[in-house]
Symmetry: C3
Subunit: 179 residues, 3 copies
Amino acid sequence: MIEAAVDSAETTAQSVLDARLASLLLRHEVETFNAAYAAALDERRLSDWADMFTEDANYVVLSRENFDRNLPVGLIYCENKKMIRDRAFALQETAMFAPRYLRHLIGNLVMPREEREGALSARANYVVLQVLFDRPDAALHQVGVYHDVFRRVEGALKLAKRHCVYDNLLVPNALCIPV
Amino acid sequence: MIEAAVDSAETTAQSVLDARLASLLLRHEVETFNAAYAAALDERRLSDWADMFTEDANYVVLSRENFDRNLPVGLIYCENKKMIRDRAFALQETAMFAPRYLRHLIGNLVMPREEREGALSARANYVVLQVLFDRPDAALHQVGVYHDVFRRVEGALKLAKRHCVYDNLLVPNALCIPV
Amino acid sequence: MIEAAVDSAETTAQSVLDARLASLLLRHEVETFNAAYAAALDERRLSDWADMFTEDANYVVLSRENFDRNLPVGLIYCENKKMIRDRAFALQETAMFAPRYLRHLIGNLVMPREEREGALSARANYVVLQVLFDRPDAALHQVGVYHDVFRRVEGALKLAKRHCVYDNLLVPNALCIPV
């Protein structure tokens, strides 16, 4: 009897530890994903960026004002990977994206403890800093929060949804740049 | 004899791993806490924010200049949760907090390897970005470092102390906003 | 037979978990290192900062423009720890470093899954915020990315290489400050 109780207590302690580890590994995976996502955009590897979404992904960039009012109108609206890829190619062909450096910082990841039915929702704050080639200083280009849903495709995390809700936009002529 | 030595080596390796895992889980817990703390402030859930402190919590916002000189004088000084809650309610009633968006980034968490006597000290750098409703650009509102002591209350981490030591304040009329 | 298959499946699952944990612990170690690195600079403990490099460390601060063109010319160029230490002492003796506060945020860590031959390459984005003593506001001093190689010296991680590639420099007279 006593032995069984000890075993059971050990099993419970182990499963609590396993749950914490699973949660930690998941968080690690999303942080790694976000760092790779930022690097792809910072280094203008837009094709790599597009590949981080699922085929049916919903990618939207919209203002906090519209988001708070439940208006889905955004600066960028893509309802599948094809539209995301189109945007990436369009940007690489234009001069618009060229004469500036961008640098993302993503932090404050908030996520639930576990995946549910293969989907994982998460949020993270982001700051995009911009240096225009003809100015010496960096500026806050965009500040906001990602509302995400991740799904696994062949074992790897992909974005099924990323809504980038921005507090501001410093540079009006850069509206179409993905964040 | 050999078997015992192998067992002992394995036990040592296991306990080193366990110590590293414990340290990692603790760091994970504090990072998760800080992300939730930032989200509460960014989303103006000030009541949730107040609940992240212990009953006897000490919450102070003071300048780096005063901190370096050991002067405890701060912009905000709360010596228990009641005062923290009062401040939260006061802010929600005034218009002062309303016409702006805030966005926290918390990073560079520095913490010891283990809890001591149920208390855990930690530090983290923070940046608060602000968008005023009548201006299109984001600004650096406050930059600084948290000096924290966490304690467990019914299993969950709470702040027993958070001293927000700021390098600067961009916006003088926003002094009373918690960070 | 069945038992062996179950054992083997368990062993595989365990080794996958071990690999993910090892990767997580390594990431944790680098994040902890970077937070300590930032704290040393933010608190002007330049001697502690210099001690975070290996004896043969290569520490360079250079512009993204030069980096992209493979030009190694930088604002700071140190090819061993002695040169790094010289720079630290020089800065502590001059007034140049004094009349400002600096605050680092390091994020978006990108690193491979494992160490190779005792060396570990990594990248991370950084932002350095600066407050001059005669101005009330914080400014973006420098924005960029670290290109790192870590090596273990007596069990602890040290930087064998840190190339700080900056997108911009806001404050020309602060060029010589390490980041």
